[in-house]
């Protein structure tokens, strides 16, 4: 466990392998909710929060439940269920404790259940920080940190995209490429610029 490791995780999961622009996880909300910056921020806040929480929980489940009982093949099934339950739980807790936050996150929290970014982060953590059925040193901290960085990368991409799309609302674009097609073409240019970061990591 060293500061370089953390730095390398940060750069690779925020910039080089950006969740949306390079790994293509969580594309549906990225295209659907990126028309206005405020909503985009609420969505990415909710996603980041859930990714961090689910990184913690799925790590604990993998280490203390699946591995000791030789059940690693049940990974997908258990992670999906746990994430779905976790999202429900977080929703209930937020509704009780902070109505303001609940109003900000609103329906986005429920949508996250089937967001591939959350499950993707959990699977990636397990793939990267467990080797030969054993946790590598500092694996728990790496997992949580990588989850947080993926959330940050998600927020970054959402913010860039919604900023551009807000301006495009005022432009007169051809009817054929309006909405979805244009969003993908913009995302392609964004992703092209993120390619410039590759080479920063080992």
């Amino acid at each position: 466990m060293s500061i370089q490791e953390f730095l390398s995780i940060f750069i690779s999961s925020v910039f080089i392998y950006n969740v949306i622009l390079s790994r293509f996880l969580g594309l549906c909300p990225f295209v659907a909710i990126s028309k206005n910056t405020k909503q985009a921020l609420a969505m990415s806040g909710a996603v980041t929060f859930v990714i961090i929480a689910s990184s913690i929980v799925t790590w604990l489940i993998y280490q203390f439940l699946l591995l000791p009982f030789n059940l690693a093949y049940l990974r997908t099934l258990s992670f999906v269920l746990v994430i779905a339950t976790l999202v429900q739980l977080i929703e209930m807790v937020i509704r009780k404790t902070s109505p303001a936050l609940y109003r900000a996150f609103g329906i986005y929290l429920t949508l996250i259940t089937t967001n591939c970014a959350v499950l993707g982060a959990a699977v990636l953590n397990v793939d990267m920080f467990f080797s030969n059925g054993k946790a590598v040193a500092g694996s728990f901290y790496y997992s949580v940190f990588q989850g947080a960085c993926m959330g940050l990368g998600y927020t970054l991409a959402m913010l860039l995209m919604s900023g551009i799309r807000e301006r495009l609302e005022l432009c007169n674009v051809s009817k054929a490429v309006k909405d979805f097609p244009l969003a993908f073409i913009i995302a392609s240019v964004l992703s092209l610029s993120f390619m410039g970061f590759s080479g920063f990591s080992r």
């Binding site: 622009l21 390079s22 790994r23 293509f24 996880l25 969580g26 594309l27 549906c28 093949y73 049940l74 990974r75 997908t76 099934l77 999906v80 269920l81 779905a84 089937t114 967001n115 591939c116 499950l119 993707g120 699977v123 990636l124 793939d127 009817k175 054929a176 490429v177 309006k178 979805f180 097609p181 244009l182 969003a183 993908f184 073409i185 995302a187 392609s188 240019v189 964004l190 992703s191 092209l192 993120f194 390619m195």
Partner: protein, 197 residues
């Protein structure tokens, strides 16, 4: 009989999951670097679609309405796990190429959407045909996208060079090329749709 054929064919063009319903784009974009990956992903997703549609249509009477989504997810996850284990055992190279996108079939919107919108309301045979049709439509879309990307990005299709001396456009093999191809294809389809009207 006629309606059964319709259940099968609607997924291929009229309600194509990728181009018309715009569902399940994450794996589509990520694995479409080469045609062989596209076909592998398509077959894996088709298997999961058929399996989950059939099982959901069989147990639809026993599932309480309130907890149907979690039940569907468990059924889908079971089939995804079966696919994952089979891929690992019989085709490790493909499994490595598809990477984390195999377990992610479980959150692919197409599968859950078909279970929720079709299989839990229809009988076994039409659910099977619907799953098969959607799977074939998804596979064809993947083959189209990955064909364009492999041809432009590597100058080959299925590993065979088509045009001698063709200089590949490297960017089509990268993530940004995938986004560009799908954006232009969706725009082209919109253009066709507008013209029909």
């Amino acid at each position: 009989m006629k309606s059964l054929i319709k259940e099968f064919t609607k997924g291929i063009i009229k309600e194509n999951p990728t181009f018309v319903l715009v569902l399940g784009l994450c794996p589509t974009l990520a694995v479409s670097v080469s045609v062989i990956n596209g076909i592998g992903m398509g077959i894996a997703a088709t298997f999961v679609l058929i399996g989950s549609s059939v099982i959901v249509s069989l147990v639809k009477g026993f599932i309480p309405d309130k907890i149907r989504i979690p039940c569907f997810i468990v059924i889908i996850a079971t089939f995804v796990t079966i696919t994952e284990l089979c891929l690992k055992a019989y085709s490790p190279a493909l499994n490595r190429a598809l990477g984390i996108y195999v377990p992610l079939i479980v959150v692919n919107c197409i599968v859950l959407a078909r279970a929720e919108a079709f299989a839990c309301k229809n009988n076994l045979v039409s659910s099977f045909l619907d799953g098969l049709g959607m799977g074939v439509g998804f596979t064809l879309a993947l083959v189209l996208i990955s064909g364009i990307r492999e041809f432009l990005g590597a100058g080959q299709i299925l590993g065979y060079t088509l045009i001698k001396g063709f200089e590949p456009v490297f960017v089509f093999g990268m993530p940004s090329g995938a986004l560009l191809v799908i954006g232009l294809l969706l725009g082209f389809i919109n253009l066709l749709k507008n013209r029909e009207r």
